[in-house]
Subunit: 122 residues, 2 copies
């Protein structure tokens, strides 16, 4: 990810934001169509990994976190961290901004909320 | 699954029920430990599949559903459906009861709610 984000620019999600296909009801309220299920499963796959869940909780616990500060807490190499931040970023769960050599990450507002609502939450 | 459940018996989840390790906070409230992240990722992996999400939504929309009635809506063979119901059942999301040749499935009360709370919901 370090080289994939232009200087000073924010990352953008590649997966749909759940607001469209799932706006008509959650998994506990309606029988999902194939496209709705595909959309939701993509975001769930991004968080169904223990390292990415820990990464997400670290970013959520801070206003923003530099990629350079994730190696220690996650006990992973920088290329591995880059892979996981890219997956979370493409799923729209975290937003990155490149400053100099590193990308700084913050939580995407209410993206997890959209996942919770799709799973039947309010 | 058809042959794995004793007659008249209910299936039992194999994954932890999230009530233990994650009782102290959600992914948005605390930095998850490795064991907490592993526990939650296991349940999320079970629902990060489009066929299982649709299956879950079909079971949730009914008081109970026979495995024999899932082939049509899911457009999958019975062995494939057995695989997916087993994954959801082991994750504690659905509960099966064998009656004669078939297993009847119902939604596990509040298991999705535990997942939502682990993701920061109330």
């Amino acid at each position: 990810m370090r080289g994939n984000v232009p200087e000073g620019r924010f990352t953008r999600p590649k997966l749909p934001l759940l607001d469209g296909a799932l706006s008509c009801g959650s998994v506990t309220e309606v029988v999902l169509s194939e496209s709705e299920a595909l959309e939701l499963s993509g975001v769930l796959a991004a968080i169904s990994d223990p390292v990415r869940l820990r990464l997400l909780s670290i970013v959520a616990a801070n206003a923003e976190v530099c990629s350079c500060d994730l190696e220690g807490p996650l006990a992973r190499s920088q290329p591995t961290i880059s892979h996981h931040t890219r997956v979370l970023s493409e799923a729209g769960l975290i937003i990155g901004e490149k400053r100099g050599r590193w990308v700084w990450w913050r939580i995407a507002p209410d993206r997890l909320g959209a996942v919770r609502r799709a799973l039947g939450g309010s």
